[in-house]
């Protein structure tokens, strides 16, 4: 079977839509392979607009890992905006890849990477535009497998009726294992059809196949139990963990789009996992243990990536980049290497306590001294103990003082509202903290033009965290606390004008909360709201709380549950959680104990530096902490002779 490009038909529509360049592909380092030369064909999707999706590291890594296989091709697709969706429906143009503009419905697998649950409606649009039946149960051999990945896949129950499978954890080895199974199956002539393929995938443990599990409910709406409905299907499906990141130095040839994207820089992941133990942080909990990439590999990836992309900024990515055991050496080594070039370095996430001024100076040596960002997350000392963000007010003041004294004029502080046990007073402490920051900053810098921006959003409890049992704060109380904080800062006569406040209202958090701790019944809400036209929920101008609530009203009409039941209800230890059969490695009792410690304001340390706490991950998953130092030395870059300079002066 050969597959035709839909570009000739799409091309007619592009002059009539906003930013047509986002649909044409043509990225540097993109790969297009002949269809007939391959056995397994993957389409990867990031379910948001192209400009948000294209920089995504997960998609870029898997794209390259898959395309390196001779028997496999991999292309990409992104969410199309409503203007193009309408034209595509009118003109019968299906969801397409940007690489070769092949119809998504022709691929073997559609892998969708969910960084957030707010991409669910966009996945439905793509499936539907691709001509794939919306419900997995209605699909046959001619349709791609729809596979969810990314952090939200650790509880894919809300989308379980739309997906064929979900992959938990690191994708590099998992996609290759899935490809092997699909390849064998196709080579054998697809015996037993789609059902057999899904059985093979589920039995291998590589992928969670929701259709092979039954969920029973108690009369009050809670789950009685989740159990496999076929022999050979595992009771629990475990996450994947890539050990030794030096063996997986992807992306080797990062995609550089022609269209503008949200991250105009090259990213290099310097470690995976985080054991700081912040109790609200799902990413930190589900990506354990910490696995560092060595300084040498990082330096090679930076050099190679710059040469292949032409980017001027390098972002050193991780969940808390200043925690790399050799971050000082890496920052200094890279700053030395790229001195007097236009290349600059950035650390997107740094902790207050891991930050030091030497590191900041190295980072800004070749670049601009833009604002510094820190995330104390909680306004009061007490609430920071609850969430285990072990940062004292003293740490914060010391750090910002050093920053203002070294020439930074702007400090951004991130906080959350609606944390467990929180009272108004905990949030109002943020105003006092910001006041102290400005006071210290003015003294340290001797200037009055320094600023502090407070950014605050509503907390959403997530699965596989100690707060998975917690009641989410209702949006009315969240908003009222945010307004009180805003007013308190405005009333600060002395420094109020130096403090900016940015806050996000509580309503989107309610929907995120419904989806993230949702079970299979929530799928009906997603379908209903999507049928009502809801798209692009991550964009405030497209998000509609009222549509979601109206859809929930309809979808839950015959159920003993409602939106509040999923969001503002506290759970107890005996309740079967919708994601209990999905194994992040974390021991449920350990999580419960940590939740109890949170309520008692007891902190827990980081297992990189103190003995193991038996969170369960390493024992259970056969993994271990991989940290340096390696004591390697970053050598200066050899000078590469220019290919364009005239050999003898003209």
């Amino acid at each position: 079977m050969t597959v035709q490009s839909v570009f000739p038909a799409l091309e007619q529509l592009l002059p009539r839509v906003q930013k047509p360049v986002q649909y044409v592909g043509g990225e540097l380092n993109a790969v297009v392979k002949p269809w007939e030369d391959t056995i397994v064909r993957w389409c990867l999707m990031y379910p948001d607009a192209y400009e948000v999706g294209i920089p995504n590291q997960g998609v870029q890594i898997l794209y390259e890992v898959l395309n390196e296989r001779a028997d496999t091709l991999c292309e990409r697709t992104y969410a199309v905006w409503p203007d193009l969706e309408k034209l595509m429906r009118e003109n019968g143009v299906p969801q397409f890849t940007v690489d070769a503009h092949r119809p998504v419905g022709a691929f073997d697998a559609l892998g969708v990477s969910f960084a957030t649950e707010l991409g669910y409606t966009n996945m439905l649009t793509a499936i539907d535009l691709a001509g794939i039946p919306l419900h997995a149960v209605d699909r046959d051999e001619t349709h791609p497998l729809v596979i969810a990945g990314g952090h939200a896949a650790f509880n894919p129950e809300a989308i379980s009726m739309f997906i064929d499978g979900a992959v938990l954890g690191d994708g590099e080895q998992a996609v290759l294992a899935i490809t092997d199974i699909i390849s064998d199956f196709k080579t054998q002539g697809s015996p037993g059809g789609r059902d057999e393929l899904l059985m093979r995938l589920a039995k291998s443990g590589v992928m969670y196949v929701p259709a092979f599990y039954d969920v029973e409910y108690l009369e009050d709406g809670r789950i009685r139990r989740v159990s496999p409905n076929r022999p050979g299907i595992p009771w629990r499906v475990a996450k994947h963990t890539v050990m030794d990141l030096d063996e997986w130095p992807y992306p080797k040839a990062p995609l550089v789009p022609i269209a503008e994207s949200v991250h105009e820089r090259m990213s290099v992941e310097i470690f995976r996992g985080c054991t700081r133990g912040c109790r609200f942080c799902q990413a930190g909990m589900i990506t354990r243990p910490v696995r560092e990439r060595s300084m040498t590999t990082i330096a090679d990836m930076v050099a190679n990536g710059l040469e292949k992309t032409g980017y001027e900024e390098i972002g050193l990515l991780s969940l808390s980049s200043a925690d790399h055991s050799e971050i000082a050496e890496i920052a200094k080594g890279l700053a030395d290497r790229y001195e007097n070039t236009q290349t600059s370095l950035s650390l997107p996430s740094t902790r207050v306590d891991a930050f030091n001024i030497d590191l900041a100076n190295e980072l800004s040596r070749n670049g601009r001294r833009s604002g510094l960002t820190f995330a104390p997350e909680g306004g009061s000392e007490r609430i920071r103990k609850v969430i285990n963000k072990m940062v004292t007010e003293e740490d914060l003041i010391r750090t910002v003082t050093a920053a203002y004294a070294s020439g930074w004029r702007q400090v951004k502080l991130y906080f959350m509202c609606g944390l467990p046990t929180e009272e108004d007073e905990d949030v109002l402490q943020i105003a006092r903290l910001a006041h102290e920051v400005i006071k210290a900053g003015r003294e340290a810098s001797g200037r009055k033009d320094i600023r502090c921006t407070v950014s605050i959003g509503g907390f959403v409890p997530k699965p596989h965290t100690p707060f998975q049992w917690a009641a989410q704060l209702d949006h009315e109380t969240t908003d009222s606390r945010l307004y009180k904080l805003r007013d308190a800062i405005r009333q600060d006569r002395e420094f109020g004008k130096s403090i900016g406040v940015r806050y996000h209202d509580g309503k989107p958090g309610v929907v995120e909360g419904l989806l993230s701790r949702g079970d299979r019944r929530v799928g009906k809400v997603i379908e209903q709201v999507w049928r009502d036209g809801q798209r692009f929920d991550g964009w405030s101008e497209h998000f509609s709380y009222d549509k979601w609530m109206a859809a929930a009203e309809i979808a839950f009409a015959d159920e003993p549950v409602d939106v509040n039941w999923y969001t503002i209800r506290e759970r107890d230890l005996s309740e079967v959680l919708a994601w209990d059969h999905l194994d992040s490695g974390l021991d449920k009792e350990w999580l419960w104990d940590d939740w109890q410690d949170a309520l008692s304001e007891v902190e827990v340390d980081d297992c990189r530096w103190v003995p193991c706490f038996d969170c369960g991950v390493c024992d259970h998953m056969g993994t271990e902490i991989q940290v340096g130092p390696t004591n390697a030395v970053m050598l200066p870059m050899p000078t590469i002779p220019s290919r364009v300079v005239a050999t003898s002066g003209t």
């Binding site: 570009f7 044409v24 601009r368």
Partner: protein
């Protein structure tokens, strides 16, 4: 907000300027001017071109862009000038830059800048407009009434609101040809203020002849440069630089 850039940073002046002609083809015709600028600057880095940078807090590479074709319009004749801090071989630059740019953004010619007032030399553009589904006869009729008018006012949305201007006077020549399943319009348009673009010409044609056009046109800028002695041919704007180099 930010500390000043290291005042000791060395500013190296440009020793040479080069003029580059490039194309914007096929699917990359949907590239906007800003998109092209970013892609081009990154390509210069990948090609290892020793760019000159502006001074100041936020240094920019020395690049001047002239008369970019609109988004969605293909072109065989876009022009860019760059300043470099080491002498660059124009032929090598052509080859390497073309290699590092994606197919569709293609480098066609490079000359060393030896003459002043380059932009002023770009007097007119030659556009080829394919109109799928429009019969040649209909198009010919429209062109005839357009060319016989002394003025055809059209409207265009600009940043400062709707602007009305004449689209006729700038059009020096208009020919109709027949293509596979389309009428093809070839127009030579003199540059001016406001610039009359291909869509303005089409709007004017629709106004005088009222022909419906369902499928979006495919527009290509074939040439951009000085008007030759015949008064309507568009010449190569690099001719003067080439002659100066050989001299």
């Amino acid at each position: 907000m930010a500390r000043d850039r290291d005042p000791g940073r060395e500013i190296i002046p440009a020793v040479q300027k080069l003029r580059i002609q490039h194309a914007k083809r096929d699917r990359l015709r949907f590239t906007s001017h800003r998109d092209f600028q970013r892609a081009f600057e990154r390509a210069l880095k990948r090609a290892g071109v020793p760019m000159a940078y502006s001074a100041g807090f936020s240094p920019h590479p020395k690049i001047s862009y002239a008369n970019a074709a609109p988004t969605g319009v293909a072109s065989e004749a876009e022009y860019v000038e760059i300043g470099v801090v080491q002498f660059v071989d124009p032929e090598k630059l052509l080859a390497v830059l073309d290699e590092v740019l994606p197919p569709g953004l293609d480098i066609l010619a490079v000359v060393e800048a030896r003459t002043p007032d380059f932009v002023a030399r770009l007097e007119a553009s030659h556009w080829r407009i394919e109109l799928p589904g429009t019969p040649v006869a209909t198009l010919e009729q429209a062109v005839e009434s357009f060319m016989s008018s002394s003025e055809v006012l059209v409207e265009r949305m600009t940043k400062s609101g709707i602007r009305t201007f004449d689209a006729r006077t700038a059009v020096i020549r208009a020919n109709v040809e027949s293509g596979a399943d389309c009428g093809i319009l070839q127009v030579v348009v003199r540059h001016g203020v406001p610039a009359v673009r291909p869509d303005d010409v089409l709007a004017a044609l629709k106004k005088v002849a009222d022909f419906a056009q369902e499928i979006p046109p495919r527009v290509t800028r074939l040439a951009q440069g000085p008007l030759l002695e015949d008064g309507w041919s568009v010449g190569d704007p690099f001719t003067l630089d080439r002659e100066a180099t050989q001299a």
